[in-house]
């Protein structure tokens, strides 16, 4: 059985590192903060390896099926209605895979940042934030309770906010961090209400119980959840779709993606960790976690997920072709790949060989984490060298940055789906699943994967070839601490495809071999090569062809370059609608009408008392007169009215 102390240490070592570096980083550690953070994470990484070996090879299986183990569950907040938020640890193939991914990528980023962030004034703060993020992310993937996952969900959100805004004196970074937080918060609103709906109908917040109650056909909970409907959609579908909204926000799916490109304002290693490899796939993870319910009881929601996924994949790939900031290209590429993972889940069935999509999605999540982190770290190395994010400042860098060049090339080949690099295998699985379940999705996905190859190699050629060599910079590549992660990740990105992933991760825990057909691969590989070739023609040498093409289709190009004006639409809604039509009137009404009434009543009282105070004149004659009137009045009253 799993060792609970070790399991708890995996997230708590980063937490300890966060607290210690956050409180004493500046005073005690200073420049050694990085080492301290890295060391604690290294231990955490070793423990994750230990745990995953134990899970996959020793105690994870019962009767050949991987079990969902909950070795730890502590009641955190018990509501009076029987629902309870527990702090627990769940061990199943996807959570074990995720702790490996998170600790490994995070470790790479920790090491890389030792050089990349050196000399930064808030060096220890940076590492404490990284630790906070790692802790939250590990907590998220290990959550055994849907409310627990929401708690950590918010915590990764805030660490992302803090890290995007790390260069806090740059107004654009501040704006980006706010945007990221608010957009994902909006999505989390859906998540929260979804949780409320699901918990109301299932009567539990615990994942295992929830899944069990909402998938067993005879259960009363399922029956009420399906039969109760609102606006023609069943309560169950509402709940799951709302939860998916949270996932869509965090995973930057269209139309909640607008924060991700801006999030590139953060330090580049942070983008590699949070906005490429780990946090942005949290939405995929969430859908995978609830997958049995979706597949068995709510196929409609799964269709929604497919739709959103495939749209995101395509749109993001199109936009990526036009961007000139290399980090933004990578950001859109991340979006697009997450779209792949999402629709792979969407087209997947549950159990046995139906679950190819599920396995392929998780596989792609895994390989994507490796090659995308590599791409970002490589981009970081380039940015470190030229001090700019813009393509126009780059070109011909292959001589100056040889290691970066080779590793970047490997990553590009992997993401473009060129065999035998890792991306090829995982993407094949996804395409196959799409082909079997939904041809329309398949064709769109195929087109997108061609685009992927194009925009990645556009980036590659533009950075490393294009112009003849730039003016020489004084320093070369970033040194050992920056190169080691690149090399390790490149090895991973190159060979990870050969992992028999279906042996470990499948929709129902049973063994699955991802099917593989040479014939089927011809189309995507050819398209990929075509994409690479066209990028080569356009960008290997400086020539005007690319500009000619873009000016040829200038209208379309502009539309895509401006990201289909989605940002502008949002801006309109927030500025013109929420601020001008809700916020300002609310503030005005409060000051003028509601408070106006208060002041009016005050003023009336005052005015009335001004008028009647003259009665109290202090002159005896007046009082005598009032007295006389009073006596006469009373007399009249008593004699004539009451007839005393």
């Amino acid at each position: 059985m799993p060792n609970v102390i070790i399991l708890v240490l995996i997230p708590f070592l980063p937490l300890a590192s966060f607290l210690i570096l956050g409180l004493f980083g500046k005073s005690i550690f200073r420049n050694t903060s990085g080492l301290a953070g890295t060391l604690s994470l290294f231990v955490s990484f070793l423990l994750s390896i230990y745990t995953s070996f134990g899970y996959f090879f020793e105690y994870g299986k019962a009767n050949g099926i991987y079990q969902k183990l909950v070795p730890l569950k502590l009641s955190w907040l018990e509501f009076s209605n029987g629902l309870s938020i527990d702090m627990g640890i769940i061990l199943d193939p996807i959570s074990v895979m995720m702790i490996m991914v998170v600790t490994f990528i995070s470790l790479m980023v920790h090491i890389y940042s030792l050089t990349y962030m050196k000399g930064e004034e808030r060096f220890s703060t940076y590492y404490s934030y990284l630790s906070l993020f790692t802790f939250s992310m590990l907590g998220l993937v290990l959550s055994s309770n849907i409310f627990q996952i929401y708690i950590f969900w918010e915590l990764v959100g805030v660490s992302s906010f803090l890290l995007i805004g790390f260069y806090y004196n740059k107004p654009s970074a501040v704006a980006a961090s706010k945007k990221a937080f608010i957009v994902t918060r909006f999505a989390d609103l859906g998540f929260l209400i979804g949780i409320l709906v699901l918990s109301f109908y299932s009567g539990t917040l615990d994942f295992n119980t929830l899944i069990q109650r909402l998938t067993s056909p005879g259960s009363g909970e399922l029956k009420t959840a399906v039969t109760t409907s609102f606006l023609g959609i069943s309560a169950l579908n509402w709940g799951l779709a709302l939860v998916f909204m949270g996932g869509a926000g965090k995973s930057a799916l269209f139309p909640l993606h607008i924060w991700l490109p801006d999030a590139m304002e953060g330090p580049t290693p942070v983008s590699a960790l949070i906005h490429a490899a780990t946090m942005v796939v949290a939405g995929v993870y969430l859908v995978a976690r609830l997958f049995p319910v979706l597949a068995l009881s709510a196929p409609e929601v799964l269709e929604l997920i497919t739709l959103v996924g495939v749209i995101t994949a395509l749109i993001a790939a199109l936009i990526a072709c036009t961007q000139t900031d290399i980090k933004r290209v990578l950001a859109y590429s991340t979006m697009s790949q997450i779209g792949f993972m999402m629709f792979a889940l969407g087209v997947s069935g549950y159990g046995g060989s139906n679950g190819i999509g599920f396995t392929a999605s998780m596989f792609h999540l895994f390989t994507h984490a490796l090659f995308k982190a590599l791409l970002f770290l490589g981009a970081g190395s380039v940015i470190h060298y030229v001090h700019s994010n813009e393509m126009k400042d780059m070109g011909g860098l292959k001589k100056h940055l040889p290691i970066t060049h080779i590793t970047f090339l490997i990553a590009c080949l992997a993401i473009a789906g060129v065999p035998p690099f890792s991306g090829f295998f995982s993407k094949e699985g996804i395409l196959l699943a799409a082909y079997e379940h939904n041809p329309a999705v398949f064709w769109l996905a195929l087109a997108t994967s061609g685009l992927t190859a194009y925009y990645m190699f556009r980036l590659y050629f533009r950075i490393f070839w294009y112009k003849a060599s730039q003016q020489h910079k004084h320093h070369g590549e970033g040194g050992f601490a920056m190169m080691l992660p690149l090399i390790l990740l490149a090895v991973g990105a190159a060979v990870a495809g050969f992992i028999p992933f279906g042996r470990f991760v499948s929709s129902d825990g049973s063994l699955l071999t991802l099917p593989f057909h040479w014939l089927f691969s011809i189309a995507p590989v050819t398209l990929g090569l075509l994409g690479i070739f066209s990028a080569m023609v356009l960008f290997k040498k400086e020539n005007g062809k690319a500009d000619q093409i873009s000016s040829f289709m200038s209208r379309v190009y502009k539309l895509v370059y401006h990201k289909f004006y989605v940002d502008e639409i949002y801006l309109f809604i927030t500025r013109k609608v929420l601020f001008s039509m809700v916020g300002r009137p609310a503030a005005w009404i409060d000051r003028n009408i509601i408070d106006g009434l208060v002041n009016l009543s005050g003023a009336t009282t005052k005015a009335v008392s001004e008028r009647i105070k003259v009665i109290q004149s202090g002159k005896v004659q007046h009082y005598g007169l009032y007295f006389l009137f009073g006596v006469i009045g009373l007399g009249v009253l008593l004699i004539y009215v009451i007839k005393f």
Binding site: S75, W76, S80, L189, L192, F200
Partner: protein
């Protein structure tokens, strides 16, 4: 434990302060006095938990009952349940923090501290009272110092604000008084005793008549929409500690009164009016949040956000479920701590930069990292980040509210949920403008970070916020049985 200690201790502090000669002595006396209050509050928590774990399930513990005015059957009757213990703890936290941040007050130091201590006497007495007359007596004790705090030590349009606040709160008190007398004469026995009254059958018609009086009366204190307009003006004119006490303690008197007096004694009235309450609460939550979004002055931001946050208290009470009421009480504690800290930070920033305008501030993180970090923490707590108390409170309210499947309740709950987005918008705007970005004015570069007293105050309040946020179960277990007693009659009505 002898509960009168909690009233006597601040009384002794006040008397000792009168004997002190200089400002320094006064400050230290009040600091020691408030530290003693904190110790007493923790002692109360401790003995209370002990009694409970020993199996004492009586509703009110440590009761003391003396006849005060026999002709009217008025008693000095005190006792506590989990809810009162939680509120007393909150009061003790806010008092010591308020005393600490006022260390630099120059004008009439003795009188200033006297007001603070007097206010705390009113609050403790209020939370302890089990006799309605006594409760009203302490409520009035708590109102007067606020008027003076704002009128004398305030800033801006202080006379206007002080008058407005005092008049509106007095108006609320008047409603309460009428309601109390109504209750007194409505029962079959002439009594002000809370526990007795809760068992007396009060005719439904009377309940319907009296409930709005009591609820609205107390509601004025806790910024019940539309009687909330004293909040922004009062806060913005009050001195830092005044704002802290006002929002941290005084607004909680109202919430507690709504719960303990109106809802508990008049359950049928509560049931009758619950849809109106939740509608007003939901309006306050969203409307307060949207109004906050447009504010440019830090104090106005927190004042309007208090309107929004106190809406959660009223929402929880109006839902009339055990979980929601527990959530309402947790929200009172959480908001009390959080808002006190928020005003403390604003005070610290204002003392240094002499401005509270969001537009003029900027880049403070570079200049005063400690203060700005507190600002971040309190902001994140305000927008309901897990790990801080606000999250626990709001989620408990949401969970409890969702138990009511009827359409109006659902609508109100979803509206309340929406505020988590709007809150994020205004908090991040405030933080982004003031703490982040480039330093806007040259003179900010030389400003000093927090002094020892400010640090200590912040640490005390943050401890409270984090302890509740990380380990909420103890507070939940403390409050839930109390909520159960309040809701008991209503659940009987439902069955």
């Amino acid at each position: 434990m002898n509960l009168t200690l909690l009233i006597i201790a601040p009384l002794i502090t006040a008397v000792t302060m009168l004997l002190m000669r200089n400002a320094q002595q006064v400050k230290w006396t009040s600091l020691v006095g408030s530290a003693i209050q904190l110790v007493l509050a923790f002692a109360l928590l401790f003995v209370f938990q002990n009694e409970r774990s020993a199996g004492n399930t009586e509703q009110m513990l440590f009761q003391q009952n003396y006849t005060w005015f026999s002709a009217w059957n008025i008693h000095f009757h005190v006792g506590v349940d989990g809810i009162s213990v939680a509120m007393i703890l909150l009061t003790a936290f806010v008092v010591i923090a308020g005393v600490l941040v006022s260390w630099n007050v120059q004008k009439m130091v003795k009188e200033f501290y006297l007001m603070l201590i007097l206010l705390s006497i009113g609050a403790y007495g209020f939370f302890l009272s089990l006799d309605l007359f006594l409760l009203f007596f302490f409520l009035e004790i708590a109102v007067l110092p606020k008027f003076l705090l704002i009128g004398i030590w305030g800033s801006g349009e202080k006379e206007y604000s002080a008058n407005k606040l005092a008049l509106m709160l007095m108006g609320g008190s008047a409603l309460v008084l009428v309601g109390l007398l109504g209750v007194y004469f409505a029962g079959s026995e002439r009594t002000f005793d809370l526990l007795k009254l809760s068992r007396l059958p009060i005719p439904q018609e009377t309940q319907r008549l009296l409930f709005p009086l009591l609820f609205a009366g107390f509601g004025v204190f806790t910024a019940l929409f539309p009687f909330h307009t004293w909040v922004p003006d009062g806060h913005s004119s009050a001195p830092t500690a005044g704002s802290m006490f006002l929002a941290g303690i005084s607004m909680k008197l109202g919430g507690y009164g709504c719960l303990r007096v109106a809802t508990y004694i008049l359950p049928e009235g509560a049931k009758e009016y619950s849809t109106i309450i939740i509608a007003l609460a939901a309006i306050a939550i969203l409307y307060g949040a949207f109004a906050t979004m447009m504010q440019k002055d830090l104090k106005y931001i927190n004042a309007y956000s208090s309107v929004s946050h106190c809406g959660f208290v009223l929402l929880g009470i109006g839902m009339l479920t055990k979980t929601a009421i527990t959530g309402a009480v947790i929200q009172m504690v959480s908001h009390g701590l959080m808002t006190a800290l928020f005003f403390a930070v604003i005070g610290m920033i204002y003392d240094r930069t002499h401005t509270r305008s969001v537009k003029k501030l900027g880049g403070l993180l570079k200049v005063m990292p400690f203060i700005t970090t507190i600002f971040f923490i309190v902001g994140l707590c305000s927008l309901g980040l897990p790990g801080f108390s606000g999250f626990v409170a709001e989620m408990t309210v949401f969970m409890g509210s969702w138990e009511r499947p009827e359409i109006p309740y659902r609508v109100a709950t979803i509206a309340a949920c929406m505020s988590i987005v709007v809150t994020a918008v205004y908090i991040l705007r405030a933080i982004g403008q003031t703490a982040m970005g480039p330093v806007t004015e040259e003179r900010y570069m030389t400003l000093k970070d927090a002094s020892w007293n400010e640090k200590l105050a912040a640490v005390i309040l943050i401890t409270g916020i984090v302890v509740i946020g990380v380990a909420p179960f103890w507070l939940n277990d403390l409050v839930a049985p109390g909520a159960h007693h309040i809701i008991e009659k209503i659940s009987q009505l439902n069955n």
